[in-house]
């Protein structure tokens, strides 16, 4: 019996999706340049059904690609050709709220913002806020260790998860918690991109809604001054709740889209959010305004509406850029903050070299860069040029002491770039970690960690201490 026949025999009606037309919506995630149709899609309604699916996939040695809301930007949830897509969107219940201990137990398909909505009446919220928070699911957030604009002060997903329940490929339940003795398996599961287990329940930490939040918007005549002010704010002892930077092209795009009063004459814009009690916010505001005294324009939000308006431009920067170009490609490198200005200058040079426009939107507080490279997929060779451009930015990030991905994950998109950040011994460790959980490599195989021969063939082999690893391997 084929795997699809077996799944249809075991699962209730409406769970299994097959056929060219029906599986098409699942052929890619948010990175739509890569597409692949799976054998079938299953949308289980409970943990028992997930266990049944895993068991059947294991018997047939068929890969399983777990999918949340499909908003990922690195192809992590893109199906493999002979795979079953395990979509968890129907597991969307907030199961328990423990307001006293500031915890909530949720199913993986709960949308990020739905957690904050569910606990709002207790004056609590869930802090990590990826831009896709209205759509992305908490299970996917854990799998990617997602970030957002508030990470500098409140941490990434990994800092805000108390426990997870996972299913191994054998369908066995494993609960991993912050209070576990032994290795940090809970942290390992954060950002594991669906390669180690299926996350079926998450206990998240909740944070008290601050009394007050205000945003300072500062325009600068030069990118370097703006970048330096980021370091200066932190040097002055302030940790803003959010610290974002945009370049002139991004300002123009965002203002054209959202019309919130961004300074169109500025070369760079800083958005700095301060939150806490009224006294805390005032004290921090005094310091920040002093640090930003060299800015060409300053505006401080005086009401919640003004605060939201100032953020609206930043939060709509991606769709705003989307209006200016048929396609755009979003990068996700991180660098130490002190290199921000140098990086921006390099990106501008590369923009000229590749003849492609770039809008820069940075989580500057975290050194997390989101250059958006504008291109047109219908122009022959432009996607390839864009990818080359992107790869140069990622290499620069690694060379500056940073990382190829801060919050979007590797997926299929950054497999080549991984060869630049890790040597073959380190990559080997990653493969063995996967094997410790999933010896037959059935969970999202081929994603997140490149095969060693891929790196060798790429010629971008990581040269470690001046020695090429595996000199015995043939290289093409």
């Amino acid at each position: 019996m084929s795997i699809v026949e077996e799944l249809s025999r075991v699962l209730p009606k409406g769970i299994l999706i097959t056929g060219e037309e029906n599986t098409r919506p699942f052929e890619c995630d948010g990175l739509s340049v890569y597409r692949q149709k799976p054998l079938a899609v299953v949308l289980p309604e409970n943990i028992d059904q997930i266990k049944q699916v895993l068991k059947i996939c294991k018997t047939h040695k068929t890969p399983v690609v777990t999918r949340g809301a499909g908003t990922g930007l690195a192809g992590g949830a893109m199906p493999l050709s002979e795979s079953i897509v395990l979509g968890l969107s129907k597991l969307s219940q907030v199961k328990h709220i423990d307001a006293k201990n500031q915890l909530a137990i949720v199913e993986p398909g709960v949308r990020n913002i739905a957690i904050s909505e569910a606990v709002a009446s207790y004056d609590l919220y869930y802090a990590p806020d990826p831009s896709s928070q209205i759509a992305c699911s908490i299970g996917g957030n854990v799998a990617e260790n997602s970030g957002g604009v508030h990470c500098l002060k409140y941490g990434l997903t990994v800092h805000n998860v108390e426990a997870v329940k996972i299913l191994t490929i054998d369908g066995e339940e494993l609960i991993l918690s912050r209070s576990d003795q032994g290795l940090g398996l809970l942290t390992l599961m954060n950002g594991s991109e669906g390669l180690l287990g299926v996350i079926v329940e998450i206990t998240v930490r909740l944070i008290k809604t601050p009394d007050l939040a205000r945003v300072v918007m500062a325009g600068f005549g030069s990118v370097r001054d703006c970048a330096n002010s980021v370091a200066d704010i932190i040097k002055a002892g302030v940790i803003p709740a959010g610290l974002e930077m945009m370049d002139s092209f991004a300002i123009e795009a965002a203002e054209g889209f959202a019309q919130v009063g961004y300074p169109l004459d500025a070369q760079a814009l800083l958005l700095c959010e301060l939150d806490g009690t009224e006294e805390q916010v005032q004290a921090e505001l005094d310091i920040v305004l002093k640090v930003l005294s060299g800015a060409s324009s300053i505006k401080v939000s005086n009401s919640e509406q003004e605060r939201l308006d100032l953020w609206k431009g930043r939060k709509s920067a991606f769709p705003a850029v989307g209006r200016l170009s048929p396609d755009y490609y979003c990068m996700d490198g991180t660098i130490p903050r002190r290199h921000l200005a140098d990086m921006l200058e390099k990106i501008n040079e590369l923009s000229k070299k590749y003849q492609l426009r770039v809008a820069n939107v940075f989580h500057a507080g975290d050194g997390n860069l989101h250059p958006l490279i504008l291109y047109d997929a219908n122009v022959e060779g432009e996607l390839e040029r864009t990818e080359e451009f992107g790869t140069e930015i990622l290499k620069l990030s690694v060379d500056m002491g940073g990382s190829i991905t801060g919050e979007h994950g590797v997926g299929v998109e950054k497999l080549d770039a991984m060869c630049h950040q890790f040597n073959s011994k380190e990559l080997e460790i990653f493969h063995k970690i996967k094997a410790a959980f999933d010896p037959e490599a059935l969970l999202n195989p081929g994603k997140a960690v490149p095969e060693l021969h891929r790196c060798a063939e790429l010629g971008a082999m990581h040269v470690h201490n001046g020695k090429l690893p595996h000199p015995e391997l043939e290289r093409f």
Partner: protein, 177 residues
């Protein structure tokens, strides 16, 4: 003359059994500190009080509960809990085959590869020699109160099995004990 790391690598390659402690490691000092980046990198044998003194010059501190300031940071990491793990940004390690490996780094956000630098918190010297650790630090004024995080002692059969496989990943010859 070999530097200390190269010596340690040689020792691991030739040893059949090693018990790691700070005295044996003999590797201490702050390697890099960027106060405006909120990042410090330290050799694992560094005494915690020395790290705190360095940070205090800029009104900064390690953001986790410290049981004993006279302990080395490597020891605190080896027995550490989640609160310490939350501040870890990267580690350099020597695995059981003597390879020097680097996971994570000095940046706040980094999701390339599995999070080995946080996974090894609590590894009790059983998987690898931790030689250097990078931490996120914070201004003292942002510390409200720090409490020791408690740990449960029970471990499921499955968890023990996975942990023992992970030990083999890093220490295939089983020399760390």
């Amino acid at each position: 003359m070999l530097d200390r790391i190269a010596q340690l690598q040689e020792e691991v390659k030739n040893a059949s059994s090693i018990h790691i402690d700070s005295q044996w490691l003999n590797y201490s000092g702050v390697t890099e500190y960027f106060s405006e980046e909120l990042v410090i990198s330290v050799k694992a044998g560094t005494v915690i009080a020395d790290i705190q003194n360095t940070l205090a010059e800029n009104n900064q501190t390690l953001p986790f509960y410290i049981r004993n300031e006279n302990q080395s940071i490597g020891a605190a990491y080896a027995i550490g809990a989640q609160d310490l793990s939350d501040s870890v940004l990267g580690v350099k390690i020597i695995d059981g085959t003597g390879e020097l490996l680097n996971f994570g780094g000095q940046v706040m956000k980094n999701v390339a590869g599995y999070d080995v630098s946080r996974m090894l918190v609590g590894s009790e010297g059983q998987l690898a020699i931790i030689t250097q650790i990078s931490f996120k630090v914070i201004p003292k004024s942002y510390i409200v109160s720090l409490e020791a995080s408690y740990k449960t002692t029970e471990r499921s059969v499955l968890r023990r099995e996975i942990e023992s496989r992970l030990k083999t990943v890093f220490d295939p010859k089983g020399i760390f004990n």
